[in-house]
């Protein structure tokens, strides 16, 4: 029982860690795009979409496949034997129980992540409004302490719809589903959610 619990906790924490890394990568690339100097917003958005998607897909899709894979015994020399030094020589039942479970949990976590992200940013907005009105429940925007209209809008406007991030998020889900779907068909209904 204890071993089962530990296994589940480790697998779930790996999945959450991957999603968090994706989130950090997204923030990093969005900051990076500010300094590149694109001619228009579309080019900038395309750059962010592509880079965020590639990094997210590498972490969510490729790393789960490549990291535990082993080629050290099939290839005696040539550098390939040192490239993949995991334990799995093929897709066996343990691969499905170990890596397959992580991928599946990852995808399930991706269903709830946009909702969690919304509430996270909502909490931040609520905090700034609380600070602005010096109240626990900031329900009176007319009592704002903002000196300028732009500052007022910054505090009281709703969240930005980051279309480039949404695109890369969706593409990551679609690519992971297509990649592992033939092995784990449950991913198709999960991706629909």
């Amino acid at each position: 029982m204890t071993g089962f619990v530990i296994f589940n906790v480790i697998s779930q924490s790996v999945s959450i860690f991957i999603i968090m890394l994706n989130f950090i990568a997204r923030l990093f690339f969005m900051c990076l795009a500010e300094y590149v100097g694109f001619r228009n917003d579309s080019e900038k958005a395309s750059f962010i979409t592509t880079t965020v998607f590639v990094s997210a897909f590498f972490q969510t899709g490729w790393l789960c496949l490549v990291a535990p894979w082993s080629t050290s015994r099939e290839f005696d020399e040539g550098g390939v034997n040192k490239l993949f030094t995991g334990i799995y020589t093929d897709f066996n039942p343990d691969w499905f129980a170990d890596v397959g479970y992580t991928i599946q949990y990852n995808m399930i976590f991706n269903i709830f992540w946009p909702i969690m992200e919304f509430f996270m940013y909502y909490g931040l907005r609520h905090l700034t409004r609380m600070w602005d009105q010096r109240k626990w429940w900031p329900n009176a925007p007319e009592k704002t302490r903002s000196q300028t209209l732009s500052n007022f809008e910054k505090i009281y406007l709703g969240p930005l719809f980051l279309v480039h991030y949404k695109y890369s998020f969706l593409m990551n889900i679609i690519f992971c589903t297509f990649m592992y779907g033939p092995l784990l068909p449950i991913l198709f209904p999960i991706a629909l959610c």
């Binding site: 020589t89 093929d90 279309v163 593409m171 297509f178 092995l183």
Partner: protein
């Protein structure tokens, strides 16, 4: 404001998604224990035994992975040689009119926003 670049990039990228699926599916559906009755010898020194599953088996074994592998090869060829295939198809078959129209480039030489305004309009705009 955004134009259609982002959507086009996404649609173009989406074409690669089934290629990854075919890649893993062809490998998984050519499993030697399941489809070739291969019994791997256990090795005390390693956690899992070698499964005798190699890439060249695609070329001489017939497994459920074979059609998937053929599909994968076709997908890769169509991705890599996309332009050549388009030229060939244009030579041997009648290319649809829509394809011809999409190749036409429309260059609208509109004046920049500031040039389209008169001086007093510019001043009003800045003032506002």
């Amino acid at each position: 404001m955004y134009d259609d670049t982002l959507t086009k990039v996404c649609i173009k990228t989406m074409y690669a998604a089934p290629v990854f699926g075919l890649m893993l599916a062809s490998w998984a559906y050519s499993n030697q224990q399941v489809f070739a009755n291969f019994a791997p010898a256990l090795d005390k020194n390693w956690v899992y035994p070698l499964c005798n599953h190699t890439f060249d088996q695609f070329f001489y074994q017939l497994t459920p992975g074979t059609p998937l592998f053929i599909g994968l090869i076709c997908a890769i060829i169509s991705c890599v040689f996309q332009n050549w295939l388009r030229i060939l198809s244009g030579k041997f078959f009648n290319r649809p009119e829509a394809d011809k129209v999409s190749k036409m480039k429309i260059v609208e030489l509109l004046p920049p926003f500031s040039e389209a305004m008169k001086t007093y309009q510019k001043k009003m705009f800045v003032k506002e």
